[in-house]
């Protein structure tokens, strides 16, 4: 018996050795599974802002794989905080400045009075471009502001049903009028960019404060003075920024990830608020703020005295061109 066992000793030893090696593996399978369990906290700590705790899903929509995106709450907070604050400060701020300006300076009159003679300032194409841009911008601005402040200002007045209908139409108007806005932006850019390149006369104009703050001061200017050039470039740069971010918002697939979309949305809302404030100032000075200014975009014909006071160099250019033209411009018989 012993001999038999001894004879099989190598085999027994081999089995024992196997057990000895196998034993740790067996106990490894019984370990507490929590040792390696993925913890929410550790995943959240490793997150950068705007990123997601993601995994695998059996749903076709790849966005469903993002389990938790805590960064989305930051966007929600920015939207309700910073974006709204900037819009309120920009718009109420410019209104306050304009009211103060009107009370102190009053309406800027044509000092020489109306001469009765007019000069063509803007032709039909320029006015069409301007008014297309203006009309679409006003609707876009109002429907955009409705998304930010409508629920606080309009909802309590008209009730939930009517406000929902207004906002739904507002959204459609915003989405579709964006395209004529972009077209008008191109027309205006092509028509006026040549007149809006910065020049040395602008320095003098800015030094004299544009003559805005003092009666009788009229720094020389060509077709557009430095203030108008500032409006032009604000509209072009702001308009392009709004168009680009707006198209990204309309086509989320092009925008990329949802944090890209959020970025475009914040830029869109801030630029829109600042540009709206600038345009309010533009509307003021082009209408109630200055005598004779509206005619430039109304009929396209401005009074000669107005033109001489505000755009002296431009009037000289126009007169020189008229005189140089063969036969001169048709002069009415005295």
């Amino acid at each position: 018996m012993i001999k038999a066992i001894m004879a099989r000793m190598p085999a027994i030893l081999a089995v024992l050795v196997l057990f000895a090696f196998a034993a740790p593996e067996l106990s490894a399978q019984q370990i507490n599974p929590t040792a390696s369990a993925v913890q929410e906290e550790q995943l959240m700590r490793a997150l950068q802002s705007g990123e997601a705790v993601s995994g695998r899903v059996t749903i076709v929509d790849p966005r469903a794989a993002d389990l938790i995106k805590p960064g989305n709450k930051n966007w929600a907070a920015d939207h309700g905080g910073m974006v709204k604050t900037i819009n309120i400060v920009a718009i109420l701020g410019i209104l306050a400045v304009l009211v103060a300006f009107y009370l102190i300076r009053g309406k800027i009159r044509i000092e020489g009075g109306f001469s009765g003679r007019t000069i063509q300032r803007f032709n039909a194409i320029e006015r069409f471009g301007h008014w297309l841009l203006a009309a679409t911008f006003i609707v876009l601005a109002l429907t955009g502001l409705n998304l930010l402040f409508g629920r606080a200002l309009i909802l309590p007045l008209v009730g939930e049903g009517a406000f929902g209908t207004i906002s739904a139409w507002g959204k459609i108007a915003h989405n579709y009028l964006a395209w004529p806005f972009m077209l008008a932006l191109v027309i205006v850019f092509v028509a006026w960019v040549i007149h809006n390149l910065p020049s040395r006369t602008d320095v003098e104009w800015i030094k004299q404060g544009g003559g805005l703050f003092k009666k009788g001061v009229h720094p020389p200017a060509k077709k557009f003075n430095a203030g108008q050039k500032a409006i032009f470039w604000s509209v072009i740069i702001g308009g392009v920024a709004l168009s680009w971010t707006g198209v990204m918002l309309l086509f989320p697939e092009w925008a990329g990830s949802s944090s890209d979309w959020q970025f475009y949305q914040v830029i869109h809302a801030i630029v829109a608020g600042v540009l709206t404030a600038i345009i309010i100032a533009h509307i003021y000075i082009g209408s109630v703020g200055m005598e004779g200014a509206f005619d430039a975009m109304g009929t396209g014909q401005v009074d000669e005295n107005w033109a001489r006071e505000h755009h002296s160099l431009w009037v000289e250019e126009v007169k020189a061109r008229e005189n140089a033209a063969p036969g001169g411009a048709a002069q009415p018989a005295e």
Binding site: V38, H79, E160
Partner: protein
């Protein structure tokens, strides 16, 4: 009133997706919309866990904060619901939600997402309880029938818990103490600003 919450015990979830199917069937959710989904974290790696996720019915819900038309409201049970009549499909709630809960019937280019749809905690919408009008828009209203959300009710391993936040937290805490481990109440910190401390 109870403060209703969801809690997914990821150490019990076996990724059977029965909650997803039950939800779709109970509410006849349209194609392409998933009010609930199961996400597997660390798939195929040590420590893999599956979590069933839907709208968490947040405290101070960010979707409600960004909604331009204020279509969200919170019920007495702290369930976050919305009105599809007021919704304009702008998509803001989707970008504000940390859990990807808001869904839209269409892809969304050119603002054509359609009315937002999300988990209602089986509590319907603003229409009168258990009416056909409510069912068509929001699905069944089990809470009005005195029942809890179906996803949690039919969970085979009882991984997904629904009910009053304090009670389900106690159940989870007891489980963690008994078995000696737990990977946490997923999403609670983000949704409620607190987690289940064991």
């Amino acid at each position: 009133m109870a403060r209703m919450k969801f809690l997914c015990d990821a150490d019990r979830c076996i990724e059977c997706n029965a909650c997803v199917t039950a939800c779709k069937n109970e509410h006849e959710v349209p194609w392409g919309i998933n009010r609930r989904r199961v996400v597997t974290i660390n798939d195929g790696l040590p420590g893999e866990r599956s979590v069933s996720m839907a709208c968490m019915h947040c405290t101070d819900a960010p979707c409600a904060a960004v909604c331009p038309v204020n279509c969200f409201y919170t019920t007495a049970d702290a369930v976050v619901l919305h009105s599809k009549d007021t919704c304009i499909g702008c998509g803001y709630c989707f970008y504000a939600c940390p859990f990807g809960a808001p869904q839209y019937p269409r892809v969304g280019n050119f603002g054509t997402r359609g009315k937002m749809d999300k988990c209602t905690y089986c509590a319907g919408g603003p229409e009168a309880d258990m009416t056909q009008a409510e069912y068509v828009k929001y699905g069944a209203n089990r809470l009005a029938e005195g029942k809890l959300p179906l996803c949690a009710e039919m969970c085979s391993t009882k991984a997904l818990l629904a009910g009053d936040g304090d009670i389900i937290a106690d159940i989870y805490r007891e489980r963690v103490v008994t078995r000696g481990y737990g990977s946490g109440a997923w999403g609670w910190r983000t949704a409620y600003g607190e987690t289940v401390s064991v």
